[in-house]
């Protein structure tokens, strides 16, 4: 079992890193990796500066900035796993060879997600650092709760990778325009998880969606770890202490991991039956 993991995870992570990075020299790749997420944050910064009467010292500003910065992981890790299936099946046309190799496909997808986690981490770190240095984000390095940040990140990444495997498995059985799945899921989570605004602003009928999403609790924990008492801009989660947030996130992560395992089994069988492993839709 360990051998299968070793054979699947590490080459997948290395392959993922190569696919992501070797199309350009390191400087261009580094610039590319940062431009997109930083531009996303800058849109919010300038929106805030254009209208906010209270200025960037407000906790609202930090709430929005950090939510958007950490959301980079969602696009990178979760949507990344779905794109991996698409890339391998249709763009590079190697999925059929991966299927006959002595590897575990879910672990392979997890490895591809791990590569995207690395590039995502660089973007998150630089976005947050730029926030502190250039945009007066009220974070003091000495007061960051590192243990809480690392623990929430670890849980969050496993959770996102599980969601990615579910989406990736689903992608296996979709013939036309499968690239929409990752983007649609990331977009929906962006709206409902309170990444850049409190979920209480959503219509009441949609608010429960936010409370069942693991991202909602994960983003709250990262904000609390970085901002400490400053994380009270929107008291949506004020009723939950840190332990409760970790418990809910842990339970949701465990549930999603099991679901990912089951989903892969189901979609994999369906994809084999329908002959979808080597299908090409000319996306």
């Amino acid at each position: 079992m360990f051998n299968t993991f070793r054979r699947s995870f590490f080459p997948a992570a290395r392959l993922g890193w190569s696919v992501e990075s070797n199309w350009a020299d390191p400087f261009v790749f580094f610039t590319f990796s940062l431009l997109k997420p930083i531009a996303g944050v800058l849109i919010l910064v300038f929106m805030y500066q254009a209208v906010s009467p209270v200025g960037i010292g407000s906790p609202t500003y930090a709430y929005i900035y950090l939510g958007n910065a950490f959301y980079i992981y969602v696009g990178a890790v979760m949507a990344g796993a779905s794109y991996s299936v698409l890339d391998d099946r249709e763009r590079y046309r190697v999925l059929k060879y991966l299927y006959i190799a002595p590897i575990s496909i879910p672990v392979y997808l997890f490895g591809r997600a791990a590569a995207r986690f690395v590039t995502g981490t660089a973007a998150v770190v630089i976005t947050v650092a730029a926030g502190i240095v250039l945009f007066q984000l009220p974070i003091s390095i000495s007061s960051v709760n590192w243990a809480m940040l690392i623990a929430s990140l670890a849980l969050g990444v496993v959770c996102l990778a599980s969601l990615g495997i579910i989406l990736g498995s689903w992608t296996l059985i979709i013939r036309s325009q499968p690239w929409f799945i990752g983007e649609a899921a990331a977009g929906a989570l962006y709206l409902f998880s309170g990444a850049i605004f409190p979920i209480t602003l959503l219509p009441p009928v949609l608010q429960p969606i936010g409370f069942v999403l693991p991202m909602t609790y994960w983003l709250e924990l990262t904000r609390r770890a970085l901002l400490g008492n400053g994380a009270t801009a929107f008291p949506v989660m004020a009723a939950f202490d840190n332990r409760q947030l970790f418990t809910i996130l842990g339970a949701l992560t465990l549930g999603l991991s099991v679901l990912a395992f089951l989903a892969f089994g189901y979609f994999d069988r369906l994809a084999r039956e329908k002959g979808m492993i080597d299908v090409q839709s000319d996306f």
């Binding site: 350009a24 531009a39 500066q49 929005i64 850049i196």
Partner: protein, 274 residues
Amino acid sequence: MKTDTGWRLFVRTIIARSYPRVIGQQRQKTWIIFEILLPFVSTSGYVFVYRAMQAPQDYIGFAVVGGVMTAFWINVIWAMSAQMYWEKDSGNLALYIMSPTSLMAVLLGMAFGGMFASAIRAVTILILCTWLFHVPFAVSSYGSLIGIFALSMVALYGMGMLFASVFLLWGREAWQLSSMLQEPVYFLSGFYFPVRNFGLAMALVVSLIPLTLGLDAMRQITFSSGRAVRLFSVQSEILALAVLSVTLFAAAKYWLVRMERIAVNEGTLTDRRR
């Protein structure tokens, strides 16, 4: 057999290349849903951010108009700029270059078809967002609004045609560059906020992207507070957009000729392994 040449062939090529983009909308309905859903979701996100900031209602309108225009920008980037790269990948590019028609006509066909398809999505997003978020439109002149929108589209798709030739010279970078041109352009062109905050020097630079001026002019005509946050006067922006349109189309023509020459001389441009 009688064959068309000259302007008849040019027009028939435009119609032929725009046909699959228009008809494709009917055959791939899930595509329409997703292409409306994604910009709608992101636009809604920005609307809720403005609500969280307790911004004036006009700013929600700014975000909606910006969100509507993303449909056109995405189309220009993925279905114009990167299109020649896709065509190379699927083996069609060599056929385009060998055919007796003009590549300019092929690109114009893509532009017209893409504009039609994007317009359907844009109008749907506009109606949905206006209905859901109560956008306070105060249009001062519908004629000017339509004129500025049309001029913005000419300049924008001229840019798309230019990029289509330039992107072809790259390989896998085309995919990455298309992806890179989304959020940074949303930011630089002020899709969701007035670019006045950039300052004059920066604003002049970002005005090279046609949508910057187009959006600013449309805001001035469409919202009561639009003039208060304007970059330049509407007349100046119309003039600049006209100049951009002519320049971008001329540049696109130049690059297409150059690309065809490279294709003939080197014989590798249509090789999908590159």
